[in-house]
Amino acid sequence: MATYAAPVQDLIDALGRLPGVGPKSAQRIAFYLLKVDDEEATKLARAITEAKARIGFCTVCFNLSEGEVCTICSDPERDQSVLCVVEEPRDVVAVERTREFKGRYHVLQGAIDHLQGVGPDQLRIKELLARVGAEQITEVIICTNPNLEGEATSLYLSRVLAVPGLSVTRIASGLPVGGDLEYADELTLGRALEGRRVVENG
C-alpha cells in the first residue's frame, strides 16, 4: 500500500477529525489545499488562528463571543426575564434571524444523546440552573432541535427547571419533527416561537 509523506498524512488526519468530514472528503480537501497558491492557504491558516485567538465562549450564556461577555448578554435593551435555551451557537443565529425574540440565550453546547453517551453533565446545564437561581428570570423557552436528542434534552430540562414562579415553555408547534433547527426558515421558526407551549414535567 502506497503511503503519503508525513505532512500530507498529518493534514488528512487533521481534516478527518472535523465534524461531517469522512476519510475520503479529508483526502479531497487535503489535495485541494496542496494545489491552491500559498496566499490562499495562508489566509485559511490565519483565519483559523485569528478566530481561535479572539473568539471564546461568553462566560454568561456560552455563546461564541469576542469578549468575556457576548454582545447579547451585555445589551441593556434585551429582556432580562426571558431565556431561550438552544443547543449550539448556530441556533442563536437561527433564532435571531426571526427577529421575534427579545430576551437572552443560554447555549447548552450539545444535547442529551444516549447512544453517543452524552449526558447532562457534559452540557452547560449546571450553569443554566445557576443562572435561573441568581438572575431575574421568569420564563425559559426550550429551543432545542425538534429531533430525538433535542426532545430528550427538553424533557430533562423541564424536569430540573420545575421551580415555583418559573414558566418553562417549549417551541414545537409548526416545526416539522426530525430536522435541525438551523434549517428551519425564519417564518416557521418565528411562528414556532410564538406558539410555544408550557411543558409538563417529564
Binding site: P19, G20, G22, S25, I112, D113, H114, L115, Q116, G117, V118, G119, P120, P146, N147, L148, E151, A152, L155, Y156, R159, L175, P176, V177, G178, G179, D180, L181, Y183, A184, T188, G202
Partner: protein
Amino acid sequence: MSLYRDEAVVLRTWKLGEADRIVVLLCRGAGKVRAVAKGARKTGSRFGARLEPGAHVQVQLYKGRGELDTVTQVEHVESFKVTRTDLSRMSHTASLLEAVDQVAQDREPQPRLFSMLVGALRVIEESDPPLITGAFYLKLLALEGVAPELDVCVGCGEPADTGEGVLLALEAGGVHCRSCGGGRRLSAEALAVSRAVLGGGLTAALELPQGPVTAEVHSLATTAMEAHLERRIRSLRVLDET
C-alpha cells in the same frame, strides 16, 4: 446494484456532511445495513423523524457498489408516540438499540433478533416495565448462545441451588454453589426471576414492580451483556433511568 424493500428498526444515526445522515438499520430480511439518507436533517425532509433511533419503518433502499446503501423511501410501520415524550422510555429504548447494534453483524439476516427488538419496543411504549432492559439482555445473550448458566454450578456441575442461595460468577459463565464458592451473592428471588426470563416466564417477570429484585436482575443482565460485548454500554449511564 438494485432496489429493495425491507422492514427495519433504526439502531442509530450519524450526521454526515451538511444535512445528510448515515443510518444503521436492523432489517428483518437483510440484517444490519448502513445507509445514507440524503437531506434527512433538513426540516421538512420527507425522511426526517422517520429515521430517528428506535423508529420502526418500512424502507426502500438502493444497493450500490459501496459499503453504504441509499435510503430512497421511508414509511412508518408504527410510531412510538409515548416513548418520544418520556425519558425513562427513551433510555430503555436506547439501551436496547445499543446492545443490538453491537451484537448484529453487517448484512447477516437475524429475523429472530428483529422480532425480539420490535416486541420489546412495543412493550416499552405500552407499559415500560422496570425489568425490560435486563430481560431483553438475558434473552439476547440466550439468542447469541451465551446466556449465563443458572441451573447448575459452573464449578462442579451439581444443581446450584441447594436452598442456601448461589454465588454469581459471570466471569466463569454462570453461578457457583456454596461449596465451590467464589462470586457475589445472588438472592434466591433474583435467581428465580432470571431463570423465568430465560424459561417461559418472561411476561410475569415484566410485571414485577421496581424493587431490589428487579435491580439485582438488571445488574446481573447488564454485567453479563457488557462482559459479552467486551465494552461498556453507554446508554445505561447517560441518565439514572435504567
